[in-house]
Each structure stands twice: as C-alpha cells, then as structure tokens.
C-alpha cells in the first residue's frame, strides 16, 4: 500500500470568454520538475497563448498527483459527510479550520458532537499542527497557534461518478 505518483504533473491554464464561460488548456510536465521551474514555464506558455486566443487568461493551476495503489477498505458505516472540523486560532488573531472526512465516533465526547481534545489521537494531531511538525497555515498565510474548537458536522461530499 503506497501513494504512487503519476508519470507527469499537470498544468492547467484557465480562460474566460466574452460571455463569462470558462475553459482550460492542459499541459503535462515530468513529475520531478520543480514547481519553481513549472511557474516559469507557465508564464511563458500563458504569454504565448495570450497571442492566439481571444479569451482572457485568468490564471493557472499546477498539480502533482499521487494515487494509492492498493487503497484500504473503508470502515463499515463510514461516511465522508460525517466530518470532523478542527478550528484553530492564528497568529494574526483570526481563525482557520480544516476538516477530516468520516471522523470516527470513538474520538467524540459521549452523547456529543464535540471532539475530545484529550483523546490521545487528537492530542497527537494538534501537537503536530501547532508544534511545528506540520507547517500549513491559514488562508491569509498566518500560522496556526492553538486549537479553538473541534466538532463533528454532517456536510456534503461528492458522489461517485455513475459513468
């Protein structure tokens, strides 16, 4: 069981026409290409495309994808809509959150939708988030400094394609 990268990363350049409809052009690059190099390539390609399209170029997305070669079997009754929401205070006195699909009932306080922050598994997650092992940030780039609250909600997921 391992996450295996695709042979190539993907660069999508996004367009908008006069009516507001949107489209994209997809390019591929060797997976090992540094993002800084792909940014340079994307700027060159955007400039070249700008000369041959009447649409406006709104931006681009560079993505590196890995897929699980032998995914585990989800637990009976697991639902992605059953999310754990983790809300953190940030260094600039705002808040930021991330969610965990299919949060286990075992980490909730009894008869509650509150996640037990004293649970060892939750402590480990929080320690990594605020202790420096994980360096992700809020939407405005501020550091996450302390957990504010954590709770379970039922929220939408994406249904599998039937095609």
């Amino acid at each position: 069981m391992a996450l295996v990268n695709q042979p190539a990363g993907e660069l999508s350049i996004h367009y908008r026409d006069e009516t507001g409809s949107t489209g994209s052009t997809k390019f591929h690059f060797p997976y090992a290409t540094l993002a800084s190099v792909v940014f340079t390539q994307a700027d060159i390609l955007s400039a070249a495309l700008n000369a041959i399209t009447g649409c406006a170029i709104d931006g681009y997305t560079i993505s590196y994808t890995k897929t699980e070669d032998t995914p585990e079997t989800p637990a009976d009754g697991a639902r992605v809509e059953n999310k754990g929401k983790f809300v953190y205070r940030t260094a600039n006195a705002r808040t930021s959150l991330f969610s965990v699909p299919g949060i286990e009932e075992a980490v909730l306080l009894p008869n509650s939708n509150t996640i037990d922050q004293a649970d060892l598994l939750i402590v480990a997650l929080n320690t990594a988030v605020v202790g420096g092992a994980l360096n992700f940030c809020s939407a405005d780039g501020s550091d996450l400094t302390a957990i504010l609250e954590a709770y379970q909600v039922m929220a939408g997921g994406r249904r599998p394609s039937t095609r």
Binding site: H28, A35, A47, I52, C55, D58, S63
Partner: protein, 166 residues
C-alpha cells in the same frame, strides 16, 4: 476576433494546497485540504502530507485514495476577453512525442481568427502553422520540457485545426 497582442497580465501566486482525498463505504469522496505559504517547496509539502495522513488515518473510517499538491496563480487585475470570443471555438494542436509514443493533444479555447488559414482546401478550419504566433506557441511547448500524460517528451507540432465544441 483578431489575433490578440494584448500584453499578458501579471499573475499573482496563491497559497499552495495539500489535498488528501478519502473515499467512504459508499464510494463517496471527500477531502482534507490545508494551505501553505507561497513558494513552499513540493518536497516539504509532500513529506508533511505523509505525516498528516498518518495522523488522520486512526481518526477516520474512510480510506485515503489520492494526494494532490496544487499551486495556483491568478491574473490581477483580470483581463477583458475580446468581443466575440467564445471558448467553444477551440484550436486543437497535435504534438508528436516520437514514433512509438502517443501524440499529445493540446486544446486552446477561443482560438483567434487571425491564426486560421485562409488558403484552400483548409480555409477557415486549418490553423496556419507558419503564423508567427503559432510558431512562438509551438516553440514554447517544445522547448520547455513538456510531455504527454505518460511522461514522453513533446518534440514537434504536426497538425492543428479549429473545431467548434458547441
């Protein structure tokens, strides 16, 4: 719609994203997404994605199926599309990756009228492969290490035409 020579708008980089996608018992997918500081290297985010996934694994009943690391840039301010431009009018470019590997097809929405050939038999459909802007585009594709989805290097533009995807 004339061939555009508008100056390219500057693009602002957004915070990159690590996305861990999970599937539940019904096949429905959901994700955990977190943002990183602009210009965070892939290697750091890739390593931390593994740490995050290992911490999430015991607290979710769902199975991890995919990891994506995403960088974005947006035009600021946004450009104005030309009058009459439509994404349905696509330029389709066929690039070779060698004799024994698949072609790479690159579609360009809203292809400019000015790069369409007016010479028969392909007038109005064929893209003029010796048009200065098409040569520049083909050079940008072939000289920047791009590949098809299988990682085969693109070497040359072989054909291009306009198609409507109405």
């Amino acid at each position: 719609m004339a061939a555009a020579h508008r100056p390219a708008k500057p693009l602002d980089r957004l915070l990159p994203i690590v996305e861990l996608q999970y599937v539940d018992e019904t096949g429905t997918k959901g994700a955990t997404s977190v943002k990183y500081a602009v210009d965070t290297p892939y290697a750091l985010m890739d390593a931390e994605a593994s740490v995050l996934a290992s911490l999430i694994a015991p607290i979710t009943g769902c199975a991890l199926v995919r990891q994506r690391i995403i960088y974005k840039a947006v035009a600021s301010p946004r450009d104005v599309p030309e009058a009459g431009s439509t994404i349905k009018s696509q330029g389709v470019f066929f690039f070779t990756t060698g004799d024994e590997t698949p072609l790479e097809l690159i579609a360009v929405p809203g292809i400019a009228e000015g790069v369409i050939s007016d010479e028969e038999p392909g007038a109005g459909v064929d893209i003029d492969l010796i048009h200065t802007d098409i040569i520049a585009f083909a050079d940008a594709v072939t000289s920047n290490g791009l590949t098809n989805p299988f990682g085969d290097a693109i070497t040359a533009l072989v054909a291009a035409y306009r198609q409507s995807r109405a």
